[in-house]
């Protein structure tokens, strides 16, 4: 259990004090996959760095399993950090070490003997599917492979908590999905609590159970992912769910329209556009009110907002129609709550 209570973080800069976090409180249950989403500069990295005390909060406390992190001595803190693994946007592998030695790194820090460490490192590389790259150097790997090695390294000291700071932001959509799949697997198989920091909605939607929306250092909204995204209350959440002011356009043009949000996480796109097929097969007409999708290797990633001017049965039918497609997620979104 991670309890973040009323933390604030002030940075002193030449241009005056900056509050990167203001009175942030979150409870993260053991075994959860918790997303923290916000635009660049919202304070996400600062928040995640306060959890392992790489950054000391100016006010408030962070308790992990009942231990107040701010009361620990430097030495105790270093011990505690071995239970809290972290992966990064830039992977942060040591470039002069091969993959095996990179995975061994945290075990070296913990004083585990070399033979034992290497045995475990091989197992971990096998877990992330890179056993054959054990003796390769990071410069020989693709971004996705580097992140896999970083994940293997993060697991080396059997952490209870995995912090992911924009872990997929440097990766293409297909690789992002594979890495998220791996993180999900780790969460379920090894029962490691995961905190996912991201600025991408689809990352939260594909693996998180809970989400907090961070806006300008403040938690704008938090709760189960489905609830928060289907009933966006705060301005910050609405900006995420309805990008580029699409909510306002909707409200103005079609006041009685229901809105369905479609999320594509690598769905196989066919030649027939899905919306046309919906009309053909189900006789349901839908307007595309907003679309932000891209195709990579004939797979679609992104979102779409559909406007449907009918009753709730048709809404339910539409949702189930899309939900039965692989790698597509659909939900109704409510404009005013």
């Amino acid at each position: 259990m991670i309890e973040i209570k009323n933390i604030s973080k002030k940075f002193r800069t030449e241009g005056g004090d900056i509050y990167a976090l203001k009175d942030v409180s979150l409870n993260i249950a053991d075994g959860d996959v918790y997303g923290i989403i916000g635009v660049s500069g919202a304070g996400k990295s600062t928040l995640v760095r306060c959890i392992n005390m790489l950054e000391k909060p100016s006010e408030g406390t962070v308790c992990i399993d009942g231990v107040d992190m701010s009361l620990l001595s430097e030495k105790q803190l270093r011990e505690k950090r071995k239970e809290i693994a972290m992966i990064f946007q830039g992977f942060n592998l040591l470039m002069q070490r091969n993959c095996l030695k990179n995975v061994c790194f945290p075990m070296e820090l913990a004083g585990i003997n070399r033979v034992e460490a290497e045995k475990k490192a091989i197992k971990l590389l096998e877990l992330v599917g890179l056993k054959d790259k054990a003796y390769s150097y990071p410069s020989q790997l693709s971004g996705g492979q580097k992140q896999r090695v970083a994940i293997a390294r993060a697991l080396a000291n059997d952490p209870k908590l995995l912090l992911c700071d924009e872990a997929t932001s440097a990766l293409d959509p297909t690789t992002t999905n594979q890495i998220l799949e791996l993180i999900r697997e780790i969460n379920q198989k090894l029962n490691i609590t995961v905190i996912v920091i991201t600025h991408q909605m689809n990352v939260v939607e594909s693996i998180c159970r809970h989400v907090a929306i961070l806006d300008n250092g403040v938690v704008a909204e938090k709760g189960p992912v489905g609830e928060v995204f289907s009933h966006p209350k705060s301005e910050a959440t609405k900006r995420l769910v309805f990008p580029e002011g699409s909510a306002d356009n909707l409200r103005k043009s079609e006041p009685d329209e229901h809105i369905i949000r479609l999320v594509f996480n690598g769905a196989k796109a066919t030649n027939t556009p899905m919306i046309a097929r919906l009309a053909l097969e189900k006789g349901i007409e839908a307007n595309i009110t907003y679309a932000s999708t891209k195709s990579v290797d004939d797979k679609v990633y992104g979102y779409m907002l559909l406007g449907i001017k009918r009753d709730s049965n048709i809404i339910a039918e539409t949702i189930s129609y899309f939900m039965q497609m692989p790698d597509v997620y659909a939900e109704e979104v409510f404009l005013d709550d």
Binding site: R78, M86, G90, N92, Q96, S139
Partner: protein, 234 residues
């Protein structure tokens, strides 16, 4: 004149066989041993300059850092010949004499360790701050960060810088020859300058150039070969 400069005079052969082998040996010996001691002092100092910085992993009192920086800058700005004279009392204290190859090593070390400290600082600062952050997030102690991240990650750059230090020290040993030091510098001065046997001087200089070339070539190769970021090495 120009003719005699390059013509091979058989009379000089005796001088060459009598003086060159030991002179070459003295130059190499003085260069490598002095560089070794300069590294021994300079690398830890360079590490302190980086980790002791106010944003470093082990911030030290700022007055201490200032003093360190001033001393290093001061030593680096004194011309080598003057430094040799200035440190003579210290040389006499340590070696017992101020002439000879061993005596020349004292000013050589004093002149080059501040240089080593600065270039080491430069090499370590090139290490990605995110790697340091990664190590900190895993509970690394400052000492572990130094020995397992900062130094190993900058090995190629350190090798380049050690190579440059070696070639610098080599040229200083030649200069030291003018003030009682041994080696090829002494041969060049005592035969070329004092006795007007220019060809001996020219040969000594050619040998110095060859030594610099060899050291630089080997050093560059090692630096490139050690760098695992370069795909050609893997």
């Amino acid at each position: 004149m120009t003719k005699t400069l390059f013509m091979f005079d058989p009379k000089n052969w005796e001088i060459i066989t009598a003086t060159f082998p030991s002179a070459i040996w003295e130059t190499i010996y003085a260069t490598f041993i002095s560089t070794f001691f300069a590294l021994l002092i300079g690398i830890p100092l360079g590490v302190i300059l980086v980790v002791g910085d106010k944003d470093g992993i082990m911030p030290l009192p700022s007055w201490l850092m200032k003093i360190l920086n001033v001393i290093i800058n001061l030593l680096r700005s004194v011309p080598f010949l003057i430094l040799m004279v200035v440190v003579m009392p210290l040389t006499r204290l340590i070696v017992g004499t101020v002439v000879g190859t061993v005596a020349a090593m004292v000013p050589l070390v004093i002149a080059s360790f501040p240089y080593v400290a600065r270039v080491t600082e430069g090499s370590l600062r090139e290490v990605d701050v995110n790697s340091i952050e990664m190590a900190r997030s895993m509970g690394a102690t400052p000492f572990q960060i130094i020995t397992k991240v900062l130094i190993p990650e900058s090995v190629p750059s350190l090798i380049s810088n050690i190579t440059i230090t070696l070639t610098n020290v080599l040229s200083y040993t030649a200069m030291a020859g003018a003030l009682g030091g041994g080696g090829l510098g002494k041969v060049a001065i005592s035969y070329g300058y004092n006795r007007y046997i220019y060809s001996i001087m020219i040969y000594a200089v050619i040998l110095l150039v060859i030594l610099v070339q060899v050291i630089q070539t080997v050093g560059t190769r090692l630096a490139i070969k050690s760098d695992k970021r370069l795909k050609g090495n893997l």
